[in-house]
């Protein structure tokens, strides 16, 4: 466990350094070191690029990765379905519909409003799914089915708006939805960090509840767990975490799905107290890496991180299933 955490932390540090160095103006490691330590009179331009442009972007990617991975780990446990990810709760489609509506229906909406709308859309959808799935109690299967149903409804709404909206607006919306950490600044980073502290801590403290709830409602209840209350609380955490991630970065797919699976592979399924930190590190690495790749693959075009995670995540997921099929599950 310790070795895995240390290895992942080193990997993350490496990726962060790479993220600070790579881009249109590539820095050598030596230059990066001088910029970071402020020694040997670095060019003011280099310092500006690293501290004002790349650092916020990198940190934002890292935080988004942590949020998505934590939300994904919770979803996997409470839904007891290997394909369950926060998107199942309608969070992505809700955010997408709300963002599209704001961009298309309003003239030049401020970015803040876009983020508020994204988060509200996500939260509203999660709430609607939970309420509709409630029938004297919840069941994970009902939540999944209703989530899928409401998601397609919201997606239809998004498509409708994009079909009738101004072409420029629609394109802007699509770029936002593609998921990128492109327009990051330190204020955004600080806000997201503050926002995430409480839900991430609560999720970690609730590890033991997740260890129990994934055995299924009856088993968990027979062990004395108030299943509906725990699941409700966990859905709130998922919404707060991934809603915030979607609001600042758009839709970055696959991280919430893949990070917990990788973490389980690395530290076993026994305890969420072990899964959480590893999943968070994996998620951070994934999004930071996706952002780097998006910057260097097709310069000067910057591929949104969400597209890269999809491109890299899908084959990886196939590999995961392949491994399982061949008995390494």
């Amino acid at each position: 466990m310790m070795r895995i955490v240390i290895a992942l932390t080193l990997l993350l540090c490496l990726l962060v350094a790479a993220s600070l160095a790579f881009g249109d103006v590539a820095l050598t490691w030596r230059e990066l070191y001088h910029v970071a330590t402020g020694t040997d009179a670095p060019g003011p331009q280099d310092a500006m690029i690293v501290f004002d442009l790349r650092l916020p972007r990198t940190l934002l990617a890292l935080l988004v990765g942590v949020a998505l991975a934590t939300a994904g780990t919770i979803s996997l446990a409470i839904m007891r379905n290997p394909l369950a990810e926060p998107g199942v709760l309608g969070i992505n489609s809700g955010a997408a519909a709300a963002a599209m509506a704001v961009i298309v229906l309003m003239r030049d909406p401020p970015v803040v409003l876009l983020q508020v709308a994204g988060f509200s859309g996500a939260a509203a959808m999660a709430l609607a799914v939970y309420i509709l799935a409630w029938r004297g109690g919840t069941s994970s299967l009902r939540i999944i089915l209703i989530g899928i149903g409401l998601s397609s409804l919201a997606t239809a709404g998004t498509t409708f708006l994009s079909a009738f909206g101004d072409i420029g607006d629609v394109q802007r919306a699509m770029i936002w939805l593609a998921g990128s950490v492109y327009d990051a600044n330190m204020i955004k980073v600080r806000l997201l960090a503050l926002w995430l502290v409480i839900p991430v801590t609560l999720a970690f403290l609730a590890s033991r509840e997740l260890d129990v709830i994934r055995f299924g409602d009856s088993s968990a209840r027979s062990l004395g767990q108030p299943v509906d209350r725990v699941r409700g609380g966990m859905i709130v955490l998922v919404t707060v975490l991934s809603g915030a991630a979607v609001a600042v970065s758009g839709l970055i797919g696959f991280v919430g799905l893949v990070a917990p699976h990788i973490a389980r592979r690395l530290v076993g399924t026994a305890s969420h107290a072990r899964i959480f930190p590893v999943a968070a590190l994996v998620g951070a690495c994934l999004v930071v890496a996706a952002d780097i790749l998006g910057r260097i693959v097709l310069p000067p075009v910057q591929l949104p991180a969400g597209i890269v995670t999809g491109l890299v995540g899908a084959p990886f997921f196939a590999y995961l299933l392949w491994g399982r099929r061949n008995g390494r599950g």
């Binding site: 403290l205 009856s218 062990l223 004395g224 767990q225 108030p226 299943v227 389980r264």
Partner: protein, 264 residues
């Protein structure tokens, strides 16, 4: 919190109605579970025996009447309080891949631990005892998926034992086990009752198994009790013809001396 030995668990249902959707499965059921005895619930498919077990375990809410645990209505107790007194093993429980026997048994301590509670020596003792009673001490580091069906079933029972309640409810614990493991499990239950003072209630499919091992048998048909008592009084060719619609003769088991029914 240790269970108070002065007031051992008493489980009883009074006027219990159970609905499954719009359909009433059980009506006005009165059922008392004798403490420190092995009670078997038998009856044909659809007789409501599993539903009754789940309701007595507070996993389902009765539509009418009440389930009493130590004289208190289980619906007024928290699920945690119920779990400290009653352990339940349902049919076909599924554990996450890769989980070890020890991991599973540790979960049995869930109702005894607070959110910030650390793993205590009592928790460890309860788990060690549960593993010892079920003969799994040597297998505690093995993954559940790698065990035989019988060993896995014992691991789940060990989890309910780690809860340290005085009663254990088992839904068809022997189904899908081969004969050797069925006998092994029945002997484990008998031992838990005789040596460790547990109250065990099990839904069983095999009438002869119930007659041989259980001390108290409750025979159910369409959600009603048709006969209850010791094997001698409950198992007869008349009751079996009435409840199971099968003609049988009942003889004395030449080994155990209990009733043995043989279909004609």
């Amino acid at each position: 919190m240790a269970v108070d030995k002065e007031f051992p668990v008493k489980i009883a249902g009074k006027g219990v109605d159970i609905d499954y959707g719009p359909r009433r499965i059980v009506e006005k059921l009165d059922l008392e579970i004798p403490e420190r005895r092995f009670t078997a619930l038998i009856g044909p498919n659809g007789s409501g025996k599993s539903t009754i077990l789940r309701t007595f375990a507070a996993l389902m809410k009765p539509s009418g009447g009440s389930i009493l645990l130590d004289g208190r209505d289980v619906m007024e107790l928290s699920t945690r309080d119920v779990a400290r007194k009653v352990g339940v093993l349902l049919q076909g429980p599924v554990a996450p891949e890769g989980l070890t026997v020890a991991d599973l048994v540790r979960l049995g301590r869930y109702p005894h631990r607070s959110i910030f509670g650390r793993w205590s020596p009592e928790d460890q003792d309860a788990c060690d005892e549960a593993l010892m009673l079920t003969g799994l001490a040597d297998l505690s580091d093995r993954a559940l998926d790698s065990l035989s069906g019988g060993q896995r079933q014992r691991a789940w029972i060990a989890m309910t034992l780690a809860q340290q309640g005085e009663a254990i409810l088992l839904d068809e614990p022997t189904t899908y086990l081969d004969l050797e493991h069925q006998i092994e499990l029945m002997n484990l239950i008998t031992r838990l009752v005789a040596k460790h003072g547990k109250t065990v209630v099990a839904v069983l499919h095999d009438i002869n198994q119930a007659a041989r091992y259980a001390e108290h048998i409750v025979m159910l048909k369409d959600g009603r009790i048709t006969a209850a008592g010791g094997p001698e009084t409950v198992i007869s060719s008349e009751t079996i013809a009435d409840v199971f619609k099968v003609k049988t003769i009942v003889i004395r088991d030449p080994v155990a001396g209990t009733p043995l029914c043989i279909p004609l």
